[in-house]
């Protein structure tokens, strides 16, 4: 592979890592606050749809981002209501939210555009050219600082590690988790909008293609920490770009094997073969008081 090819491969790795970074940081907020987040896929899909539909009607990709954040937040609020208020099992609720997103999206396109498939193609002015890369970079910086250095960031960590201690200190665990979950939905929703208004020019069915789970994998591979998670996203972005590149040519390594690499790495990391990888202590447990 010559130098020019390598640079373009790295550039496309960076581009496809953008939705992963948004979704993984959303997942980080949720999981560090103690709520297992397997619904990232659903948030991404609904964000991709809301972003494309809004950009189509308004001609602005930025308004698309706003709408995607709102859509992701709404879906996350539904999940939060069931998980935090009714104390429904987090895995069951997450599964249902994903099903809901994948059922509602074709319903919306059918009602709006009379097709179960894609939204109309967006003109170039209604799409992003490079802004999302900078947004993702800014998000990484802000998240890393906020998570470690601010009171609210520490509250999120305590909600997932030692909720009793947080409650004793006078901060509401439930409120912290509510806010973390909704922020998670908004971030993942924005990530979704970059799929439809940045990486492609329309929403198409199932366009997330498992990226929500790859983002979750990146989060776990990154040991639930901001900077390692960023690198995991970039690495999984690289495998994705490589897989896209290899699809055209006859390569010795089958494309499918590169596609499953992120999942395989995550299993190996979870099994503790890459050093210690520990989930937040209170992950998956509901909290009854305050």
């Amino acid at each position: 592979m010559d130098q020019e090819n390598l640079i373009s491969l790295l550039m496309s790795s960076l581009r496809v890592a953008v939705p992963l970074i948004f979704a993984a940081y959303g997942g980080l907020l949720s999981e560090r606050s103690g709520v297992i987040q397997i619904a990232l896929e659903g948030f991404l899909l609904i964000g991709a749809l809301a972003g494309a539909v809004t950009a189509h009607y308004t001609g602005s990709a930025w308004l698309g981002v706003l709408a995607a954040a709102a859509a992701g937040l709404t879906l996350a609020a539904v999940k939060a209501f069931f998980v935090l208020k009714l104390k429904v099992d987090q895995i069951i609720a997450g599964t249902a939210i994903n099903l809901l997103a994948f059922g509602v999206a074709p319903f919306v396109t059918k009602v709006l555009f009379d097709s179960t498939g894609s939204t109309p193609s967006l003109p170039i002015e209604a799409r992003f050219s490079s802004a999302p890369i900078f947004m993702a970079a800014a998000l990484s910086l802000i998240m890393t600082y906020w998570f470690h250095k601010t009171r609210s960031g520490l509250s999120v960590q305590f909600a997932g590690e030692a909720p009793e201690a947080l409650a004793v200190a006078g901060t509401s665990v439930l409120k912290t988790r509510w806010l973390s979950l909704m922020a998670c939905g908004a971030l993942a929703g924005i990530g979704g909008s970059t799929l439809s208004t940045y990486l492609s020019s329309a929403y198409s069915p199932n366009m997330t293609g498992g990226r929500g789970f790859i983002a979750l994998a990146a989060l776990i591979f990154g040991r639930w920490k901001p900077i390692p998670t960023l690198f995991a996203c970039l690495f999984f972005g690289f495998t994705d770009a490589l897989q896209i590149r290899l699809q055209g040519i006859n390569s010795a390594i089958p494309v499918q094997f590169i596609q499953i690499l992120p999942y395989l790495f995550t299993v190996i990391a979870l099994a503790g073969f890459f050093g210690h990888s520990r989930a937040p202590k209170a992950l998956g447990q509901s909290f009854d008081r305050g």
């Binding site: 297992i36 397997i38 539904v78 069931f82 009714l86 104390k87 429904v88 099992d89 895995i91 069951i92 609720a93 599964t95 249902a96 939210i97 099903l99 809901l100 994948f102 059922g103 509602v104 999206a105 074709p106 319903f107 059918k110 009602v111 179960t116 498992g210 789970f213 979750l216 994998a217 776990i220 089958p254 499918q256 094997f257 596609q259 499953i260 999942y263 395989l264 995550t266 299993v267 979870l270 099994a271 503790g272 989930a279």
Partner: protein, 351 residues
């Protein structure tokens, strides 16, 4: 009393979920009563319709059991989709590699090979959980994607069909198919329902018996309900967790028997309308009771079939409506199980 309360909650959750989903169709300009009548009639319109519902039911019993058994041991198996993919792929591979084989060895070999590989796909996450503490939810989910990758590799590669443009494997040898000796197939020859339904029901009954009437089942449930007490009593919790996942994987793999030996005769990429995930809903509605799973699998099978018909009979509803129905029913049922009715009564008294 507990049984009655469970039934009531499942019933309420299911009804409320269905009503909410129907209300959603009204928002889109459909007539909810028309939607409901299509849903109700689509399952019983003809022997073909009913056969298709039973075909879905069969697969959902298998995946429902695959969720139920580990749940009783305190584990969440959301990997039934990957397990059934591996089982079905293996059965197709056996049928393509040795096409000359005849009865009775052909189906026996295919089913045991498929069961074993699918069981392995359940065993690994179970073993990782028990021995290394890796969260089974995430590992099984990753295994779903790995299974999807492997199946797509073989379907476009080594097992590829030469005649067809579709992403599917070649056909298995005719000795593998249930058709000739299948009494259920004879009852409804056009529809895909086959003898696997009987096997699924028998398996559900056996699972119920083992869970409720044997020491093995008692110890397995003890591991799930109170791990500390179980270990004090000297029960080997690891063994039960691993075994429950292993057997669950095998059960999910039997979906391949229903699909490949019973009906299609080949592995088609994406043949499963999320059987593995709907299995979670099936087990939830049945409160993880294997006998209840038979009935809740039928309900979800009927909904699946009904949604397909709505696609044809209405302007705005597509077959994906099944997912909305499933999602809302899951949330409503789970919600009703979480709400404590006593609290509601107190609250009503207060206000």
């Amino acid at each position: 009393m507990k049984m009655f309360s469970s039934l009531l909650r499942s019933f309420l959750g299911f009804s409320v979920g269905l009503c909410l989903a129907l209300a959603l169709t009204a928002l889109a300009g459909e007539n909810p009563t028309h939607v409901l009548s299509v849903l109700l009639h689509s399952s019983f319109g003809s022997s073909y319709d009913f056969g298709l519902v039973l075909f879905y039911t069969t697969s959902l019993i298998f995946t429902g059991l695959a969720v139920c058994l580990p749940f009783q041991a305190g584990l969440f198996n959301i990997g039934a989709e990957g397990q059934l993919t591996m089982g079905a792929l293996t059965m197709a591979a056996v049928g393509i590699l040795w096409p000359q084989l005849g009865l009775p060895w052909a189906p026996l070999l295919a089913v045991s090979a498929g069961f074993s590989v699918a069981a392995l796909w359940g065993f690994i996450p179970g073993w990782l959980r028990a021995s290394r503490g890796s969260h089974e939810v995430i590992v099984t989910m990753m295994f779903n994607f790995i299974a999807a990758g492997i199946s797509s590799y073989f379907v476009v590669g080594a097992l590829k069909s030469v005649e067809s443009q579709n992403p599917e494997t070649a056909s298995v040898g005719s000795g593998y198919l249930f058709k000739d000796f299948d009494p259920l197939h004879a009852l409804s020859p056009d529809s895909p329902v086959n003898i696997s339904l009987v096997i699924a029901i028998v398996l559900a009954v056996i699972t119920w018996l083992v869970l409720n009437k044997s020491l093995w089942g008692y110890e397995l449930k003890a591991v799930g309900q109170s791990p500390d007490a179980a270990s004090t009593a000297g029960i080997n919790a690891k063994k039960y967790k691993i075994l429950s996942m292993l057997i669950a994987g095998g059960f999910a793999g039997l979906v391949g028997m229903n699909e490949i030996l019973g009906s299609a005769g080949k592995f088609r990429l994406g043949f499963s309308p999320d059987y593995g995930f709907v299995g979670i809903a099936v087990a939830l509605l049945a409160r993880n009771n294997p006998l209840g799973i038979i009935f809740s699998a039928f309900l979800f099978g009927a909904l699946q079939k009904g949604a397909t018909d709505l696609d044809l009979e209405t302007a705005t509803i597509t077959r994906d409506f099944a997912k909305i129905l499933q999602a809302i029913i899951i949330l409503a049922v789970a919600g009703f199980y979480s709400v404590q009715f006593l609290k509601v009564k107190k609250w009503i008294k207060k206000t």
